[in-house]
């Protein structure tokens, strides 16, 4: 076991290696692990949805959370962005426990996090420009010109500059996702969470959105967290994959490593998703 790491047990006895923040206590922004989720529990009434999840999310990388429907992906996402409060456990972002934050302290931290919702969640009463300018108008004292420049810069860098005065309803699904990403990135965001960003999109638009996620990561250096069950997408974009299975972590690591050790529910999930057995076998052989 590497120094400063601990191993916890996940679903069906799976071994999950966790890092310690101690080494980077003084310079948390240099820690390769951006978010540490530790023993997270969440229940709704009698229904225990998150059953003590623990895993790491790596800085400046694309971290994909996958799992079958009902495995707790969306519930986990809502705890990460603090749309809900967990029953117990920690979400350490740069060493700060998000679950303990309230009011203005939480709002301040939220500004460093962006969220791209499944259906983009653009404000349909506003134009594309106003949607992207919204966080700047709410949280900064920038002049009109500065806002215009920054918004147009983000829109143009994501290839949708020409659509600035259109309403969200006039845009295709892929363009809406781009606007949502631009809106999430406009406030110097460090962490960007995508909730099933390719659901309901055609294969070409799916590829475009995948490219967009990589682009946001490489251009702006953000830590991306992608919640998905689109396996083809996962293998295209993921630096790290965490497999959730009914409220527990079944496996976590780089995709190639996971493919080598495929077994149990994850094997079934990968096969059922249509990813060819040849690819899995090739990955196992290290090719």
């Amino acid at each position: 076991m590497a120094k400063g790491t601990t191993v916890v047990t996940g679903h069906a006895g799976a071994k999950i290696t966790l890092t310690s923040p101690d080494e980077y206590k003084d310079e948390p922004e240099k820690d390769p692990v951006h978010i540490r989720v530790r023993d997270l529990h969440k229940s709704y009434g009698k229904h225990h949805v998150l059953k003590g999840m623990s895993f790491d999310i790596f800085r400046g990388k694309t971290n994909v959370l996958i799992g079958p429907s009902g495995s707790g992906k969306s519930v986990l996402m809502r705890q990460l962005i603090r749309l809900e409060s967990p029953d117990s456990g920690e979400v350490l972002v740069n060493g700060v426990d998000y679950t303990k934050l309230r009011g203005r302290a939480l709002d301040k931290k939220r500004k460093g996090m962006g969220m791209v919702f499944q259906m983009s969640a653009l404000f349909d009463s506003m134009t594309v420009f106003d949607n992207v300018a919204f966080p700047l108008r709410e949280h900064t004292k920038l002049s009109r010109k500065e806002i215009r420049d920054r918004v147009m810069d983000r829109l143009q860098s994501l290839g949708i500059g020409a659509a600035w005065n259109r309403s969200p309803a006039e845009l295709s699904g892929g363009m809406q996702r781009r606007v949502a990403v631009a809106r999430s990135l406009v406030l110097e965001t460090e962490i960007l969470i995508y909730d099933e960003p390719t659901t309901g999109l055609d294969p070409i638009t799916t590829q475009t959105v995948d490219d967009l996620i990589r682009e946001a990561e490489s251009k702006y250096g953000v830590t991306s967290i992608v919640i998905s069950h689109d396996m083809a997408s996962v293998f295209r974009i993921a630096d790290y994959v965490t497999f959730l299975y009914f409220g527990e972590i079944a496996a976590t690591g780089p995709p190639k490593e996971l493919l080598k050790e495929l077994s149990g529910p994850m094997m079934e999930f990968v096969r059922a998703s249509g990813v060819s057995v040849e690819i899995i076998e090739a990955a196992r052989r290290g090719k």
């Binding site: 949805v49 939480l106 969640a121 709410e138």
Partner: protein, 293 residues
């Protein structure tokens, strides 16, 4: 997001029963008996109004709390006032005109049976300022603006736009609900004033020009019976109704769930609850103002 909203969402997101390692679904709890189900539903039905009142009280508290905290979004307030107030002028004027006319017609006919038709202006004026003006204005605003508010907020809820506001560190109660409730508080009394003026015009036209009542007598009797206390009573009611109508509409939309059908159901509940709330509050306020409680 409020805890209540979170709880609602949580119920929506909660996954189904997990399978065990062997792949079988975990053994479910024994089904409750028919009697238990009926009893639970009966008590839930009885408690529902109190739960609703509690939720509304909580939301009102949040509106007051966030209403006094910066940032003050004047532009949103004006937009909401335009939507709730200016947008309702036509329907309120039309309703006021016909209601005043028919009231004049009925009362003049009734009073004529004992030769008291000269009192029509006074009674129409009192009824309009104290009761009919605020109640009908609120009902009209609820039908037009309240239902639209519920639909808009409900659509925002089910398409995650309200969650998006929260993730952008913007309080959705302060951004979405405070301006609308403020608009209700200011605009419903103004619309009520308009309703009463146009209603009196309708009654005057019918009574004077169709039924031949003397215009001087009609106005004199009106001035003799209706004083500022009556007007104030009507305006207080209108302000309370304005807050109630927008608050109920916002609450239903804000906590809508279940896609398009859920938004439709929330809009339906909003209109029904508002109608009941306006009439029940009208009785309560009248009792308090007249010192009958």
């Amino acid at each position: 997001m409020t805890d209540a909203a979170a709880a609602v969402d949580g119920e929506e997101d909660a996954p189904t029963a997990p399978p065990t390692d062997s792949g079988n679904v975990e053994e479910e709890e024994a089904a409750p008996s028919f009697l238990t189900v009926v009893t639970d539903k009966f008590f839930a039905f009885l408690l529902a109004p109190f739960v609703e009142i509690g939720m509304l009280a909580r939301m009102l508290f949040e509106v007051i709390y966030w209403g006094f905290r910066p940032p003050y979004r004047a532009r949103l307030m004006i937009q909401s006032m335009e939507f709730v107030g200016v947008g309702s002028i036509f329907i309120v004027s039309l309703t006021g005109l016909f209601l005043g006319a028919v009231l004049g017609l009925q009362l003049a006919d009734g009073f004529r049976q004992f030769n008291a038709e000269n009192q029509t202006g006074a009674v129409v004026g009192m009824a309009m300022t104290r009761e009919i003006g605020p109640v009908f204005t609120a009902l009209m605003v609820s039908s037009r603006a309240g239902s639209a508010i519920t639909t808009e907020l409900g659509s925002m809820r089910v398409s995650s736009q309200i969650d998006a506001l929260t993730t952008m560190a913007v309080n959705p109660v302060q951004y979405l609900i405070v301006p609308r409730v403020f608009a209700g508080l200011i605009m419903v009394p103004l619309l009520t004033t308009l309703f009463v003026i146009i209603g009196m015009f309708g009654a005057y036209t019918v009574c004077v020009h169709l039924l031949g009542i003397d215009p001087g007598v009609f106005m004199d009797r009106f001035r003799w019976l209706v004083d500022w206390k009556d007007v104030l009573q009507g305006l207080i009611k209108a302000a309370v109704f304005g807050v109630t109508v927008t608050l109920v509409a916002c609450r239903q939309g804000f906590h809508a769930k279940g896609g398009a059908a859920g938004v439709g159901a929330a809009t339906n509940r909003s209109v029904v609850q508002n109608a009941i709330a306006i009439l029940a509050l009208d009785y309560l306020l009248t009792s308090i103002i007249l010192g009958q409680v």
